[in-house]
Symmetry: C2
Subunit: 310 residues, 2 copies
């Protein structure tokens, strides 16, 4: 598991100059202090490849020729035909394997993992690469005072094997995903219509409320099913849309706030990559017996939770 972050940092002061939004105001409402921005020539495909490279650098003995499935997630596509999954496949040079890109908005990481589980169950794959990559700044209108300051860019890559590969592996105990498109203003609360351009979030308050509701509920379901108390978790990694959502979910669950992992302060909302980048950040520190839940909620609406054990 590894992440890629573009080097350019955009501070809150950029939005103060642009839109008159004070840094303290942004921090109080979102937790965001700064975010990363992809450089010229970077996009969702190049960042997916860079995250894959970072992953391979972490497992020096591993031969990418053993990869037999690639699933990429993004709602900020560079190319919907030569997709992020294709870009990773081309970079690796592993031909003739199932390769697909998906979007369930900010929930794509967990839908991708669930798709991988399906390929494992049918016996069509044993070693899958999941890559999530968001180039929010390509579709963001910085001058949008409602949501322009929220978004950041980044990517992460996760190798999933049916068989244990090494001592740093985590076991995926269970994944739950769900669409909740019939709920509320799911059809208009957050949208990215490429032809009309731009990410907009006209109903941020409803997204906030539904995110708190769904991430808490699906995390509790997963805890219950596996007979875990909240504080049996080493980390809860919620989708990084707003620090106040994370705080709310943590509080509802009765979880020690120190166990909630957040990177939105440094990275902004990196879409479906946010929780994955968070997981990559703590991957190397996890000890035997660790339990981690990644929970997501996004536009559409889509939600999910995944329990990992070491």
């Amino acid at each position: 598991m590894a992440a890629y972050l573009p080097t350019a940092v955009v501070t809150n002061e950029h939005f103060t100059q642009l839109n008159g939004l004070a840094s303290d105001w942004i921090i109080a409402r979102t937790g965001i202090e700064e975010r990363r921005k992809a450089g010229p020539g970077e996009n969702a495909n190049t960042m997916a490849v860079a995250a894959t490279e970072a992953l391979l650098a972490e497992i020096p003995g591993f031969d990418p020729a053993g990869i037999d499935l690639i699933v990429a997630g993004t709602y900020t596509p560079h190319d919907t035909i030569f997709t992020a999954a294709h870009a990773v496949q081309r970079h690796l040079g592993v031909n003739e394997i199932p390769t697909v890109s998906i979007s369930s908005a900010c929930a794509s990481l967990l839908n991708a993992v669930e798709i991988v589980e399906g390929y494992f169950a049918t016996g069509k794959a044993r070693r899958a690469l999941v890559v999530v990559s968001e180039h929010n700044t390509a579709y963001n209108n910085e001058a949008d005072t409602m949501a322009g300051h929220l978004w950041g860019d980044g990517a992460a890559a996760l190798l999933i094997s049916k068989d244990r590969l090494g001592p740093h592996d985590l076991h995926i105990a269970e994944v739950i995903t769900g669409g909740a498109a019939p709920v509320g203003k799911a059809d208009e609360a957050v949208t990215l219509k490429p032809v009309e351009k731009g990410i907009v979030m006209p109903f941020g308050r409803e997204v906030f409320q539904q995110a708190c509701l769904y991430m808490t509920r699906v995390t509790q379901t997963l805890l219950d099913r596996h007979h875990l108390a909240p504080n049996d978790l080493t980390y809860l990694i919620p989708h990084q849309a707003n620090l106040r959502i994370s705080v709310n979910v943590t509080k509802q669950l009765g979880l020690d706030p120190a166990r909630a992992l957040n990177n939105i302060q440094r990275l902004g909302n990196t879409g479906c990559a946010g929780a994955a980048i968070g997981l990559a950040e703590v991957w190397g520190t996890l000890q035997t017996g660790a339990n981690v839940i990644v929970t997501v909620f996004g536009g559409g609406y889509s939600y999910g939770a995944m329990l990992l054990k070491k």
Copy 2:
């Protein structure tokens, strides 16, 4: 299985007036005589919903509440956050089920079916809706003399059940999918970069050649695995990118040309919906003992084949 086609017809004469391309010239090179164009307010999401409605109208006793998985495919998204799969879910009002949209370019139908097979194998779903929808005209530059005249709009929906539901069911004997992104100019031969806008196909000749190669090969693989001769097929339904590709694949396989199903003459290239619309067109005519192969090839590159039996 059912299709939705927008009502507006665009004839070749439109491109004669616009670009000076003679209708005979277009027909000789592509087989296309006319194509459909989505109306104002229509898009990939509304057409996905319309195809779903057409499907439900075909199975009057069926309760959509029994659907437990939705997979939509499109490379011409209306919204990458509230995706086509979400739009279908919201329309059906079936909450809290896995819902995901995908793109493997023109091959998405088969990747979607393969994903469904995975959910069936894990036991997480038993009754899935696959919807493919393309709004090519939203991203097409009609003035592009290389490819502007190729594209049409349309959608199709397929209900897949783990258990047999009725006498009109087909059995999915096998699905093969593959990415071939490392091959040739897969990264630039056909692309749709939403930020830069537009579908372009600067290397159409290579796409043509690879389509002929891959669709023939994967179809032959499927025939061999199931001990079928080409003329044991009731229909071969190839991806509808160019009538000459279909003719070439049919000839290479030694298949009776009358058994190759084509709709590109009437519909143009409807992307990942093309072969699905073709399947919907013959669905009601298939008799017990029928064998049908759907084979696809698209940008990226992605390819696949599916054997259906009645």
